[in-house]
Symmetry: C2
């Protein structure tokens, strides 16, 4: 089991060159003949050589590791973002490590110390809320994803929530709906407020509550009492939308024939399990992760970006508006 690790000196010996030369050959640096490079590469392949990251890190300063710092313990947001980050980074042979702060500032501090100590090349900061957050103080390249930094000099990538909400409305209007209501989460959540503000031409005021199915059901009753003639309900989350659908079905109101419903987030476990499956706005978190990773790579390469980049969300139409 314990095979002796093969070092660059072994490769060099096999290729008949010095360690330094082998390093240059493998990294495409320095001035070497094509023939020598090839010989070293073959030797490395033959021995199955993988450079030891420890030595490399110490020598070059780079650890080829990037951290994803998140406050989203559930992984609902951070996992897709991490996938996107990895997509971009793994091509460059960088590794991604996930650090869950559990929303504990102390834990965040301790993570940051640890990350700096282990010399990560950069950090992507994300969360489960879209509220701008105070920047972290580290002497490293940092990119904020999903939740922007309050410092405009930092680089942030976020979802254009207003535009996303607008696409939902437009979708409903294109289907001929005219009396659209909005049910969403807490009024002190930026994502709720932003989405609500983008909802134009609503019937009545947006209904703020919490992000639960129960609130969706409750709001449905409320809504039908005050606005019995609504023909569409646009919701601030898939959970709310699912609650709305459930309640409408219980009341014998057909979705979408009588009332169309849209969700938000495109969370598969909710959007697909709902009856009917929900038309929803996909946050495109993987794309968010990819863009964040690209910005981070640039910053690591010495070309930091600044300011906030807003990415479009994408409407995913399903039966809750289109019907079967």
């Amino acid at each position: 089991m314990k095979r002796p690790a093969v070092r660059i000196t072994d490769v060099a010996a096999l290729a008949g060159v010095s360690a330094g030369t082998a390093s240059k050959a493998l990294n495409n640096t320095g001035q070497l003949s094509q023939d020598t490079r090839e010989r070293v590469r073959r030797a490395a392949a033959q021995l199955g050589f993988t450079p030891d990251v420890r030595g490399r890190a110490l020598s070059s300063g780079r650890t080829f590791t990037v951290a994803l710092l998140t406050t989203d313990s559930s992984g609902r947001f951070s996992i897709p973002i991490m996938r996107g980050v990895e997509d971009v980074l793994s091509a460059g042979e960088l590794a991604t490590v996930l650090c869950d702060t559990r929303d504990d500032p102390l834990r965040e501090q301790s993570y940051l110390r640890s990350l700096v100590a282990r010399g990560v090349d950069g950090i992507v900061v994300t969360g489960r809320r879209t509220e701008p957050r105070p920047p972290i103080d580290v002497p490293l390249p940092v990119v904020y994803a999903l939740a922007a930094s309050t410092d405009p000099a930092d680089a942030s990538v976020i979802v254009d929530d207003a535009a996303g909400a607008a696409t939902a409305i437009k979708h409903l209007q294109a289907l001929g709906r005219t009396r659209i209501a909005h049910v969403t989460g807490p009024a002190d959540h930026r994502s709720a407020v932003e989405r609500a503000q983008a909802m134009t031409a609503l019937v009545g005021e947006p209904l703020f509550g919490d992000w639960s199915e129960q609130w969706g059901r409750q709001a449905t009753d409320l809504l039908l009492r005050t606005h019995p003639d609504v023909d569409a309900i646009s919701c601030g989350s898939d959970q709310i939308a699912r609650g709305v659908c459930d309640r409408l079905r219980e009341l014998g109101r057909a979705v979408p024939a009588e009332i169309a419903v849209t969700g938000y987030d495109n969370w598969p476990v909710m959007a697909l399990a709902s009856r009917p499956p929900l038309t929803s706005v996909d946050l495109r978190l993987e794309e968010l992760g990819r863009r964040a990773a690209q910005l981070l790579l640039d910053a690591i390469a010495g070309n930091p970006h600044h300011g906030v980049l807003e990415l479009p969300a994408q409407l995913v139409p399903r039966e809750s508006t289109l019907g079967p």
Copy 2:
């Protein structure tokens, strides 16, 4: 922003000793006077010294990093396990990195190469299925969690699914239910089969389907036709149980008054959103992670364990059996 990193030589200089001595003082090794140790510690604290993991790794061979290799892309299982692992490891100042193989053997291989190259101290392997899995071939300590290794010489920690299922049945029986049915996932899933086998004294055969709410609803119809007198339905997952509850409510059958329902997994987003909230069997994944981490620490310290450790699951009673 870019504060020059403080090195051990700086600490040593401030304390008036050599670098080697400072190292010994901070690591409680070597033979030093208590006074010297204290002086060095104070100097380190004053300078905010954090040892550079890169140098340490190269020198001592330890990287103080452990990887969690998972096939569970959703994070449903791996995130709680990771929390448990971190609980144990962070006390020892070890970091945990999450690697999602996305069920791709190639990706798994590439991760393993990378992990070995970066010299992690050990690996916890987990997945989203409980099927025993082929061991990974690395010259490192490894512990398998949730899904055991097929090699009995490896150390594995899994959930005692049979006992967990049995507690659900006992709970129902204690509540006076005698005609209990079982609805679960695919017959080729070990977790479905194990749980089903532990269900004794059932009315009829277990119903195998898939892990969806839709199957739960469908199975309910099937069941009520063949066994109209069931007074409890024990389900193989919370999703199935939620579907069962929904269908029963639609049919006007009271839960739990007429028919009690139990879920499995205690997945909050399902178990709590269900109407009524589900009595479920908690897998205790954090505990699983903690135990796996302890075994891994032992293995890293040179005392590897062997064989499979089965951890009990825990019944969480809620309204779907107890009522309001």
